[in-house]
Amino acid sequence: MVELTIDGIRTRVSEGTTVLEAASEMGITIPTLCYYPGLSCYGECRVCLVEVVKGNRSSLEASCTLLVEQGQVILTNSEKATKARKMIVELLLASCPNSKTLQDMAANMGINRVRFKIKDRGCILCGRCVRYCREQMKSGGIGFIGRGTSRRVGTAFDITPEECRNCGGCEWICPVCEQACTAGNLIDGLCGGCQNLAPVETCLICTGCSESVGPQGHKVY
């Protein structure tokens, strides 16, 4: 067992647990995007960043790939972590404004403006589909192509591969096409509407209450 402190609370978890899992066990929600239970961790989106304090210094690490260590001190909601997270969601929104997942996340974080030019790429390159195809469907029909801003998800030589069984899993797991934001004119890249219309995620503390969690946070009974 490893003992660590998350947001001031001491906890003991078994070795090999990630900080994200440890926090989740304690009921602390860390926003995630490229992380998906059952798929390998990848640390791409950096939305799950937490602050790791070491003496006088601290650094930001992706909690989905960071393994717990004895005596670790983690802050999940420090100013440094939330500031970086907000900037990352803002960057993602600018490159993919029609994702409901992102719009909701932005509303939850209190982002009220996207300061970057909107370049709708229709994909946030979170790699969920790539990992789902390879790890769950054992197919590996799709992968990343290219580097830098020309990176994209595709198939080899851009032809439908034999491995593809048309299962549609890639579409199902995609945070962008799973539920597209249908708002017409996005002001400053933000929609902000659906947050009030549909439940977003169920409260993690009181499992089973099926209460929706809105921008104001948990409703605990």
Binding site: G43, E44, C45, R46, V47, L49, S59, L60, E61, A62, T65, L66, L67, K80, K83, A84, M87, I88, L91, L92, A94, S95, R115, F116, K117, I124, L125, F144, G146, R147, G148, T149, S150, R151
Partner: protein
């Protein structure tokens, strides 16, 4: 050649080589480094060869094509032994005169000597040239003495004696202790203490006992070429360092990861590997000590990101060259999940030096936190472009003015960028900053792999930041969001500013974004990429403000913000600019002041370059 099977045999071989050498025999040493090759040194070497043959002097005169001498600005370089006369800018037409006058008669040809532009004095020997005078060329100096394709040359200057010392007189722990004592820090950019890295690699558990040694020769920084010149000019020193490192950490397999753009380095390294194997200095049972180690060359595909250690290892494994989170150091889990010790070319080349001359001697050189010497590639707006090796702690002023000879055309120094594309730009107020790992980092820049780009007053700092961010945006692997999206957006904002479309809040947004990219990125590429932007905002904020508020580029570089005009006072009406202008935008009568039609002008600047009277001004 028979394989060497003991330290004694190596020494006997060395004695044999030295006894065959005739130090008084005339020798023509032509620099064969890539810089000099660009100036045509291969033709010079060819001319020497045919001239020597023509005069039937093949037995009397030795011809040697060596590695880079460092003074690339004045290439092709030729040094004539035994007098060590130093000629620069030698062309094939000078060859017969050099043979006739200098080699045979011993006369010095004045016009081929280096003239110090400041004092006007001629320098007859390399050591008299101001460029070399202030350097301390411990690692790099041997380049000029040896033919990289001839192992005997390396043995003649004491090569592989450090290896035999280590194999027969030292335990692996003692080697690590010696390196730790020398305080050698990684020369690839991170500056991690080498000894500590070796120690953790040696102590790391490996299920099947496998460990790897890697030499990182994927030097991708624009304008930096010290690793290239070391591999091209003295590959055996790097190999010797690697074998010593392998013995220390207990590895039996090593890789040199060379970028594909370095064909000469690949060639010379391949030759060196073959020779070392032939002599029994690599492979099974090295020098009969019972220690096995061999090296393979892996050629990179040209991705800048593959210089990052984990991306390099992924690439070596045949995967896409992308970094992975480094929560576990590569010294514990690196290549194929085994403990791996990766060092840069220059770090490896320092190792034999430390072993043969001792850690105490080595740690006397340099500053408290950074020991030894460092090779920098001094490029940009500087008189003496080239590779310089200086002790740590030397000031930027000494490098720029004493060694570099100052800024060309009497322009004013403006900034120096250290550490490659993701280094910071330091202003004139910091010119007395001692150069070491920590001082550079404190000033918002970094040591990096040792690139130094000098900029003069005609450089726009916003445009420079934009240039480097563009490079990094293209070279980012695109894996993590802050680096991929953040740098792209940073480039958008910088491009807007240079085009006069900047907004007041852009500067603070750049600072905020830069801070997040630095903190949140997965690897060191993103972690350092905002440095050029953040450092230029820190030291040259007024230029950013001029671009944003006044839509003005103070250095006159950003095309959207400048206009070319003709000063009627200075214009003599010579019509040169009118003839040069590709747009036909310049009109005026002969001997009357001309005018530029701004509608037609494409701001190519040809008029300004062609005007002999400085009458074309930028407004």
């Amino acid at each position: 050649m028979k394989r060497l099977t003991s330290a004694v045999e190596l020494e006997q071989l060395r004695v044999g080589i030295l006894s065959r050498r005739e130090p008084e025999k005339p020798c023509v040493s032509v620099c064969g480094g890539t810089g000099c090759r660009a100036y045509g040194c291969e033709d010079v070497a060819k001319a020497f060869k045919s001239e020597i043959k023509r005069q039937g002097l093949s037995k009397e005169i030795e011809l040697k094509v060596t590695g880079c001498h460092g003074f690339c600005e004045r290439g092709p370089l030729v040094v004539l032994y035994p007098q060590k006369i130093f000629y620069q800018r030698v062309s094939p037409s000078d060859v017969s005169e050099i043979i006739a006058e200098t080699v045979i008669k011993g006369n010095v040809i004045d016009r081929l000597l280096y003239v110090d532009p400041l004092s006007g004095e001629k320098a007859q020997f390399e050591k008299d040239v101001p460029f070399y005078k202030r350097q301390q060329r411990l690692v790099f100096g041997n380049n000029g003495l040896i033919d990289p394709t001839n192992m005997e040359d390396y043995l003649a200057i004491g090569g592989y004696s450090a290896l035999s010392e280590v194999l027969f007189n030292m335990q692996p722990e003692e080697v690590i202790e010696e390196i730790k004592k020398s305080d050698l820090r990684g020369r690839g950019g991170g500056g991690f203490p080498t000894g500590r890295k070796w120690e953790s690699c040696r102590n790391a558990s490996s299920s099947d006992g496998l460990r790897y040694i890697i030499c990182n020769a994927d030097e991708g920084d624009p304008g930096a070429y010290m690793d290239r010149s070391l591999l091209e000019g003295n590959p055996h020193s790097v190999l010797e360092g690697m074998v010593i490192g392998a013995y220390a950490v207990g590895a039996h397999d090593g890789y040199v990861y060379v970028r594909l753009e370095y064909p000469l380095a690949l060639k010379n390294l391949g030759i060196a590997l073959g020779q070392a194997r032939e002599y029994g200095l690599l492979g099974q049972n090295i020098l009969g000590s019972g220690f096995d180690f061999d090296v393979k060359i892996s050629r990179g595909g040209g991705a800048f990101i593959c210089g990052e250690s984990t991306a390099l290892m992924a690439s070596l494994e045949g995967k896409v060259g992308e970094p992975r989170p480094k929560h576990i150091h590569t010294a514990l889990q690196g290549l194929y999940g085994k403990p791996t010790n990766l060092n840069n070319v220059e770090t490896w080349a320092n190792v034999p030096l430390i072993i043969s001359r001792g850690a105490d001697w080595y740690s006397q050189i340099g500053t408290d936190g950074s020991k030894g010497t460092k090779i920098f590639s001094l490029v940009g707006k500087i008189n003496n472009t080239g590779l310089v090796e200086v002790p740590m702690g030397i000031t930027l002023r000494e490098i720029i003015y004493d060694i570099g000879g100052g800024i060309p055309h009497g322009k004013k120094f403006k900034a120096i960028q250290t550490g490659g594309p993701s280094g910071g730009c330091l202003p004139e107020s910091l010119i007395d900053l001692p150069v070491d790992f920590d001082r550079l980092a404190d000033a918002g820049s970094m040591m990096g792999s040792g690139g130094m780009i000098v900029m003069d007053e005609d450089t726009c700092m916003v445009d420079i930041a934009r240039y480097f961010v563009k490079f990094l945006t293209e070279e980012s692997c695109g894996n993590c969001v802050p680096c991929r999206e953040g740098l792209d957006r940073m480039l958008d904002i910088l491009t807007d500013i240079t085009q006069g479309k900047g907004k007041e809040e852009d500067i603070s947004l750049l600072e905020e974004l830069g801070g997040v990219i630095k903190e949140a990125s997965l690897c060191a590429l993103g972690g350092t990429a905002p440095n050029p932007v953040l450092s230029t905002i820190r030291y040259f904020r007024d230029e950013y403000e001029a671009h944003v508020r006044e839509r003005r580029c103070p250095a006159g570089v950003c095309k959207e913000l400048i206009t070319f005009n003709i000063d009627p006072e200075k214009c003599t009406g010579c019509r040169v600019c009118a003839r040069e202008c590709p747009q036909g935008a310049i009109s005026g009568e002969k001997k009357e002041p001309h005018v530029i039609d701004q509608e037609k002008c494409i701001k190519c600047g040809l008029c300004r370059d062609s005007c002999k009277f400085d009458a074309v001004i930028i407004l």
